[in-house]
């Protein structure tokens, strides 16, 4: 389990990172926590001649909480769990982070790595779609922004260009009730099915709902129709079943060591029912 040889770069600023990326193009890649990348390199599924470590780059480590919330790319899952301001403004972030991997991995795994990786098993991309987050990317031509809901194209394929680095995620302070519900084979595992739900309540009815699913297609799935099925209802059983049916119309799971397609669709339905019920009870 020894990865291929590489040259290691540890620039102090983003200009340094971009310079190496521009010089080596496809042959260079950034490393954040390394807890997705290093396992791939050890399996020799990734061969990266130039590795650019982001750990010394300034300005990627902060969390700011207000009407808008921004989280720097190098903020770890451990930081998210420990940040009280974030936990009270966007409790779904903490609830989801606690369900990612194990303590050791959470000290290292970053938001930037989790959302940029493009692995359908990662939990943050679906969460970011539920929250309608915006990603900031910086490249040789400057900065641009992409909606999380437009970012994912296929497994390991995203809208990010090779010479671009993701610097932060940003979303409006979420409103109403929330739930991150995840079915996994054992603690620390990737999802068999996971659902991120935010519901806004107005009197007895649901004003709006946002629903996204993880590891049930080759990208995260934001199910606009599932959210719409709840809006204007009292979130009774009929509405929940309509939302589940809409979600099942949007996902496209494949058979793998987490089970056959029918099982995954079953797990997705169970998880979404639970997530809606919990989010509604907190709304």
């Amino acid at each position: 389990m020894i990865p291929g040889a590489f040259e290691y770069h540890r620039p102090k600023d983003m200009e340094g990172v971009l310079a190496v990326l521009q010089e080596h193009g496809d042959d260079a890649r950034v490393i954040a926590g390394g807890h997705s990348l290093i396992p791939m390199m050890k399996l020799r599924m990734a061969d990266i001649p130039h590795l650019i470590d982001l750990q010394d780059v300034q300005g990627l480590n902060s969390i700011t909480v207000g009407d808008t919330i921004t989280i720097g790319a190098m903020v770890t899952q451990h930081h998210i769990i420990e940040n009280h301001a974030l936990a009270s403004a966007a409790p779904i972030m903490r609830e989801a982070s606690l369900q990612i991997a194990d303590p050791q991995v959470r000290y290292m795994g970053t938001v930037g790595g989790n959302v940029a990786n493009g692995d359908p098993g990662n939990d943050m991309p679906g969460l970011m779609q539920c929250l309608d987050a915006t990603f900031t990317l910086v490249g040789p031509d400057g900065e641009r922004e992409v909606a999380a809901r437009d970012f994912y194209e296929a497994a390991y394929m995203t809208d990010r260009e090779d010479e671009e680095v993701l610097t932060q995620v940003r979303f409006d302070k979420p409103q109403g009730g929330f739930a991150y519900e995840k079915q996994k084979r054992k603690i620390g595992d990737y999802a068999t099915a996971a659902a991120a739900v935010q519901i806004v309540k107005d009197g007895d009815t649901c004003a709006s709902a946002s629903i996204a699913m993880t590891n049930l297609s080759d990208t995260p799935i934001y199910s606009e129709d599932a959210g719409a099925a709840l809006a204007g209802t009292t979130v009774d059983d009929t509405a929940i079943e309509a939302a589940v049916a809409a979600m099942l119309g949007d996902i496209d799971p494949t058979e793998d060591n987490r089970g056959p397609i029918e099982f995954k669709r079953h797990a997705a339905a169970v998880i979404l029912r639970r997530a809606i019920a919990r989010a509604w009870s907190r709304a």
Binding site: M1, Y8, R10, G34, K42, D102, P103, Q104, M108, I187
Partner: protein, 164 residues
Amino acid sequence: MAKKMHIKLTVNGQEEEFLAEPRELLIHTLRERLNITGPHIGCETSHCGACTVTVNGKSVKSCTMFVAQADGADVTTIEGLGSPDNLHVLQRAFKENHGLQCGFCTPGMITRASKLLEENPNPTEEEVRFGMAGNLCRCTGYQNIVKSILAAAAELNSAKEAAE
């Protein structure tokens, strides 16, 4: 062939300097280069936690960190926690509560538990189980590991109270 890098590490309080290929994994540096064989290689795939060490205050699976990433870091292994003549509270608690059988997972368990108790000195049983979820044991069934960690926490807390 990639160039070797000049690496500086502080391991258990001792400064180490050497040349290494950046792709060298920290667990191999510790075990093969520095002869610090407390941290074990169980799975080599980031799952078992037998290789857990503390790097700059974080519990890290050292099979999943390049030595280049650790350049400049402060590393603590089981060897830095206690010695046979002067056992760490956790080492004594594991011994007294049968927290180990074959002992393969134990260095990783204790190194991780030391960080857990630092962050949460008075954990519930559930918090111990959750905080130790990155460490696997094939022998004990975990009951006595949890018991050992709770016993160490109680001992540390009563020592603290006595000192106050």
